[in-house]
């Protein structure tokens, strides 16, 4: 796979001196779903806005499909569809007209058959003649997506697509995103819902304080940073961890009713078999055993806390 979007040493200092981006390097692979995670004010929206042309960068460069976003802005922007965070729509216009407008704006001639396809895909077809103001919040968000897709983009930016959206619609949205990916569209979404990144992303980028902390394959990230816990419930509580079990670095829980063993899922030997034997050798009787995998959220909180 090759990079379809490439940012190098990208910086942005706003008037007033706020440094929103502090030298961002980022390669987005063609056809992937990349989730950009980060706390509020981390620079997610500034990064997207810069790539899309709404914010002038202070330094560095960005290419989209090989075109520089400044020198080749027409070619670069034609490839991009943007779904903004806020619901920004002309309230009194009909759905179909706002979508026709978007298509024209990106330099494409009318093609109502294609627009119909998009509207049907987003379950908006029966609303095509409704005025935007008459639609529900979720419907408006779909209209924004329809606008972004109206010019057949190869890259779709979704800035917090499911903020304030109910669970049902969020799942719908994920289906739409997966469907687009299978059509070959590269998708970049920002979110602070970790579960969203976990559910649909191929790769995860973590941004904090204007810097990209890491970009990694999601499963690999989970594997590398994901720690798993083995919780051993005991028949009878222990006052302290028996000396014979010191090497396993166990922690007592529930007043000694349970012992917790932390291990790395990525390593060849987890040490579980040895631990179980050692437990019975120490004369402990097990009542129950359970494991818990750390979520992306826990990884994320750990990462942001550690680096900032």
């Amino acid at each position: 796979m090759s990079a379809i979007v490439s940012a190098r040493a990208l910086t942005k200092v706003y008037e007033g001196g706020f440094e929103a981006l502090k030298g961002v390097d980022l390669d987005i692979e063609e056809g992937e779903i990349l989730a950009l995670l980060g706390p509020n004010g981390a620079g997610k929206t500034t990064l997207i806005s810069t790539i899309c042309g709404m914010v002038t960068p202070s330094g560095g460069s960005v290419t989209v499909g090989g075109h520089d976003i400044d020198a080749g802005y027409r070619q670069a922007r034609k490839l991009i569809g943007l779904v903004p965070q806020e619901i920004n729509l002309e309230p009194f216009e009909k759905v179909m007209n706002t979508i026709r407008f978007s298509r024209g704006l990106f330099g494409y001639g009318p093609d109502d058959a294609y627009l119909e396809k998009i509207l049907r895909q987003l379950s908006l077809w029966d609303k095509k003649d409704a005025r935007v103001v008459e639609l529900s919040g979720g419907m408006k968000r779909r209209v924004l997506i329809a606008k972004a897709l109206s010019h057949e983009p190869r890259i779709l930016f979704l800035d917090e697509p499911t903020a304030g959206v109910d669970v049902e619609l969020r799942k719908d949205m994920w289906d739409v995103v997966r469907g687009l990916q299978s059509d070959g569209v590269t998708i970049i979404l920002t979110t602070h819902y970790i579960e969203e990144a976990e559910a649909i992303a191929d790769r995860v980028g973590v941004i904090s304080d204007g810097k990209i902390l890491l970009v990694q394959d999601k499963d690999e990230l989970m594997r590398q940073l994901g720690q798993k816990e083995l919780r051993i419930e005991l028949q009878t509580p222990v006052p302290h961890v028996p000396d014979d079990l010191k090497e396993f670095d166990l922690t007592r829980a529930d007043d000694g009713c349970a012992l917790v063993y932390t291990y790395d899922t990525g390593s060849d030997r987890t040490g579980i078999t040895r631990l179980i034997s050692a437990l019975s050798a120490a004369g402990l009787v097990l009542k129950d055993v359970s494991t818990h995998q750390s979520s992306l959220e826990e990884i994320f909180v750990g990462l942001v806390g550690e680096k900032s």
């Binding site: 042309g53 709404m54 914010v55 002038t56 034609k78 002309e90 407008f101 990106f106």
Partner: protein
């Protein structure tokens, strides 16, 4: 040149105009009729003639200018301010479109609306007075130039404005007074000499005078001066827009 984009902006803007068509159409007809009743019938019956022209006919060019200038300005300023206000400007900024194309789309639509209103008022005037336009082509050219320059001015105001108040400020506090004091309803030769001189600092005088010349072949100032004035005004507006384009003033961070 992204012609599809210009067309898309133009159509989108015109659809706003057609949504409020009755209002766009009826309000100039009513206000023009009122002016004719008040100025033409009531006052005109005591004035009779100005510079050899029937008073009711004399005010027609001024009336058209009054509406065309204020409407072109407010339509163009609203057209570009509204996307800023509701946030849809993001789409313009992220589209493969140059600032020039944005200006052509918005200003073109505002000009069309201004032109439409001008023609509606002219048609309404025919109901009240006998008009014989001496230089119809020149009249049309002046009308188009006025629509263009004031739509450009409106576009600048729309970019500059940060609130609806500011949007109203210039049309209300600058353009309307200048048009009223610019000889819409009188010939500046009717003023005392001191005021005649002061009036010459009002740029609108030259526009109305030139427009009136195309109707009656007679004007307060020489037609060449009028042409220069409107050309100069348009050039200033274009220069300001070019500067906005260069700096991204109030549209891009």
């Amino acid at each position: 040149m992204n012609l599809h984009a210009i067309k898309a902006i133009y159509i989108f803007e015109m659809s706003r105009f057609f949504r409020t068509f009755l209002q766009s159409f009826i309000s100039p007809v009513i206000s023009t009729s009122l002016y004719f009743v008040v100025f033409g019938a009531a006052i005109g019956s005591r004035i009779n003639e100005v510079d050899g022209v029937d008073y009711a006919a004399f005010i027609v060019p001024g009336l058209i200018m009054l509406s065309v200038m204020t409407q072109s300005t407010s339509n163009a300023s609203f057209g570009i301010y509204f996307p800023k206000f509701i946030g849809t400007i993001y789409e313009l900024l992220s589209a493969p479109i140059s600032f020039l194309e944005i200006v052509i789309g918005y200003v073109g639509a505002a000009m069309t609306k201004g032109l439409f209103i001008g023609i509606v008022i002219l048609a309404t005037a025919y109901l009240f007075v006998d008009l014989d336009i001496k230089y119809p082509l020149a009249m049309l050219a002046f009308l188009v130039m006025t629509c263009l320059s004031f739509s450009l001015l409106g576009f600048i105001i729309g970019i500059w404005a940060k609130s609806f108040d500011q949007l109203q400020l210039v049309p209300l506090l600058v353009i309307t007074p200048l048009v009223f004091l610019g000889g819409s309803f009188y010939s500046i030769s009717m003023l005392p000499p001191v005021w005649q001189t002061i009036t010459l600092f009002n740029p609108v005088v030259y526009l109305i005078s030139g427009f009136r010349w195309s109707f009656f072949g007679d004007a307060d100032v020489a037609i060449g001066v009028s042409l220069f004035a409107i050309g100069f005004f348009t050039a200033i507006c274009l220069a300001v827009i070019w500067w906005i384009f260069k700096t991204g003033y109030r549209i891009k961070s």
